[in-house]
């Protein structure tokens, strides 16, 4: 009953908690081989590589490919960790055939906004590792250095949500919160063992209430929205000066900012209000960077045209609103109105519970549109939690849709994924079966849970 005791609604801990409020197969260990896609010399390089899988044919299911396509009674073929082919009436010679009749297949679900590992459960003070709230700009911190890979939340996201990839962001206390990290949702002893090979870094920024409240309450800048912009702009100017120099003197903060200016690091900007998002987009033009996605963005529907023109995604909830002043105008039709405007929609969680139900949240956003006459095809809505998320994270060349050559990140659902009554039956990551509802042992149990009440239980 954490919400009843939560003080988030009293405002105190808002920015310092979450962002908004403020069984492996046998065989070689995946963690001992450096993934080939990581450049030599990359610090904290991914050591993840796919676990073994069997060549698999999912036959007879309704397939949403994540890219807007749907195939009734189709076949998905994958082997050696990659999707081989998706279509109707494909030969399954050489594949282990699974009957998907009456079931549904989607790409692995992707959460663009999670704090798992940085705010792990148990949610004790000792685990509060998501906000370096000691300076309004901390581009030098990297979320991966806070990730606790034993967070039980990863397993719930896998088993109930079908989550195969997720971006872990620093919190939103700061104007610049630091680097994000993209993970594959595969248990590992180290964060390096979870890092998504070849995923670009993100940089978290936050506009609005959080930074001005956190630092204003300490009598320092920023204490206003104009202060937010002043600090941001000067920080960018200093970073540009560094980036335009020889960059020889190591400066962790400016290296991150320079990575954004170079186009290598993607900006993920926590922002609620439409007017503020418009200002941030102008700041990005002024300073020479691009916002990849606004996160939360409860007022995006007011500026769908601007977001489309600037090619900025909105990573949104279906219906959260009212918990802080800048969230007061949140409406369930946000996603549908963005879709109508031709802007990019991503459904995100920012929550260890919500990450288990991104499919349901997407369905709610779709239904709100339908009631106002906007008929958004199911196959496109699946894209809101797969390919669109991957695009905004810069990993759409590798995952996010069921296309030949992409990672075999696949969910077999026991029913329509846009229904409350459906759950993942099987989840594959890079072609390896990481969750099977029918196999009591094919589910992760974190170190923390061993020997505790409920160990290995359905969750």
């Amino acid at each position: 009953m954490k919400r009843l005791r939560a003080i988030t609604l009293l405002g105190g801990a808002l920015a310092l908690s979450a962002c908004a409020t403020t069984g492996g197969a046998t065989g070689s260990s995946a963690e001992t081989t450096t993934a080939s896609s990581e450049a030599a010399g990359t610090p904290y390089a991914s050591t993840y590589s796919a676990y073994p899988g069997v060549p698999t044919a999912l036959v007879g299911a309704t397939i949403y490919d994540g890219a807007g396509g749907v195939i009734e009674n189709g076949t998905v073929l994958f082997r050696d960790g990659k999707v081989v082919e998706v279509g109707a009436n494909l030969s399954t010679d050489g594949y282990t055939v699974l009957d998907g009749t009456g079931k549904f297949v989607t790409p692995g679900i992707i959460d663009i906004h999670s704090h798992l590992g940085d705010y792990p459960t148990p949610s004790v003070d000792a685990h509060s590792d998501g906000n370096e709230a000691t300076s309004p700009t901390t581009p030098d911190v990297w979320a991966e250095h806070s990730v606790w890979p034993q967070d039980p939340g990863f397993s719930r996201a896998l088993a109930n949500g079908g989550i195969t990839s997720l971006q872990i962001l620093p919190g939103s206390a700061n104007l610049v919160g630091g680097r994000s990290v993209t993970l594959k949702n595969v248990p590992a002893r180290t964060v390096q063992g979870m890092k998504f090979p070849g995923a670009p870094y993100g940089m978290k920024m936050a506009c609005g209430e959080n930074p001005k409240r956190v630092y204003g309450s300490r009598g320092r800048m920023p204490s206003t929205r104009m202060g937010n912009f002043a600090v941001n702009r000067q920080t960018w100017l200093d970073a540009k000066a560094y980036a335009e120099g020889d960059r020889k003197k190591r400066d962790l903060a400016k290296e991150t900012m320079a990575g954004v200016l170079d186009g290598d690091i993607l900006v993920h900007n926590h922002c609620y209000r439409a007017d503020e998002m418009a200002l941030v987009m102008d700041m990005a033009k002024e300073m020479g960077y691009k916002v990849s996605a606004f996160h939360h963005a409860v007022e995006s529907y007011k500026i769908g045209d601007l977001l489309r023109e600037n090619d900025v995604c909105s990573a949104i909830w279906a219906d959260w609103y009212g918990f802080k002043m800048e969230s007061y105008d949140g409406i369930p039709e946000n996603g549908a109105l963005l879709w109508q405007a031709g802007a990019c929609v991503v459904i995100h969680s920012d929550d260890e519970n919500g990450i288990q139900r991104l499919n349901q949240e997407a369905a709610k956003a779709q239904a709100a549109g339908k009631r106002m006459g906007l008929d958004i095809p199911d196959a496109e809505v699946i894209g809101w939690i797969t390919l669109n998320a991957a695009k905004a994270m810069g990993i759409d060349g590798m995952t996010g849709s069921l296309e030949a050559g992409k990672m075999a990140d696949v969910v077999l659902w026991n029913g329509d994924p846009l229904s409350v009554y459906s759950r993942p039956e099987k989840v594959w990551v890079d072609g390896a079966l990481m969750y099977d509802a029918n196999d009591p042992k094919r589910r992760p149990v974190s170190d923390f849970e061993l020997g505790q009440p409920g160990e290995g239980d359905v969750k």
């Binding site: 405002g11 759950r423 009591p440």
Partner: protein
Amino acid sequence: MIRKTLLGAAAALAFAAPAAAQDFAIINATVATGDGSEPIENATVLVRGGKVVAAGTGVTVPAGVETIDGSGRWVTPGIVASATTLGLWDVGAVSQSNDQAAGDSDFGAALDVVPALNPASQHVAVSRASGVTRATVYSRPSESIFGGQGAVVDLGADANMVSKPRAFQMVALGEYGARIAGGSRTASFVELAAALRDAREVAAGQRDAEDSRLNRQDAEALVDVLSGKQALYVVVDRASDIRQVLGLTATYPRLDLVLVGAAEGWLVANEIAAAGVPVITDPLDDLPVSFEQLAATQSNVGRMVDAGVKVAIGTLDGGTGSQPRNAAQFAGNLVALQNVPRASGLTWGEAFAAITSVPAQIAGFDGSFGTLSPGATGDVVMWDGDPLEVTSAPVRVFIDGIEQPLVNHQTRLRDRYRDLDESDLPKAYDW
């Protein structure tokens, strides 16, 4: 483009004299009565004088009663949301607008939500539009382990929100109460015992002000708790803590206990059932959020119900993801668990009862709220589909037989921003 709304916000929110209850019948609908039974197709619901007369098949609609075609629709009792903060706040982080807790008050048990309730709150309107017609509203424990006295309310668009004032007291035990009481569960149990002793002395006219732990108002407020006239909602999660709470009746035999939270309830489900103590729980919590919720699982509700515990879905408070309007989604998730191997879910009828008749029973309104049984209050919702499905929504809502407006701040924003055309005038003129 300027759009005239037929039922403007002013009309909806200004609470003119309450409309009179309508006599009406909804025919040809799929009807779920809320009593745990499965839905009935091609059925009729008849409401007269603000009360349900009949629901089911073979219902004759008397001449002259307005008949509403429910083809393709579902008709149910309104959702009864348990342990909410509806009417107590506008914006969570705007403390001036937030009356959920009185963190700096000298009072605890005496706090009473009734004078703070605002029926014009947007969260009331938003929940109403989502089919919530009744709720229990609590005051959150903050400086005292006692949060104060909660009420049963209706969500009608009128000035009177209260169905039953001072319906229950809330007390925090477990980690939450321990932190308030001085850092340990040992302290919270002594606090509770001392408070109930004060209440007993007040009830007997023997209060010794010098030797009282509580001020007079707080002690007086607990008299009805001690006698069982007022339910005691106990916030508790860990199995061992639940056992301790159930044991309180050995000392205080008349306590009318309700467990709130009970994340590890399934571990002690038989004991809870034997004690006849109902539970209000957030059904999808499945993470070890704290050391008192290590065994949390979405099968908690199903296992407790299987053991014979009366369980309502509730505590969906707060302004983020857990909103009262999502109670139906949470209930639907428990139906989904029926198809997950080794999980314990609920049947559709059980799940729907967990957000209608069961919470009504716990609130003391058995047979009058949360059901379509004859004589029940005319809280009726017509939905565009299965109410537990995330894609469904109400199309008409009646409370006490009075049709309710479904407009609110959110629907007005939706209508204003249906397009972004400002060629003639700014958006601010579109209202």
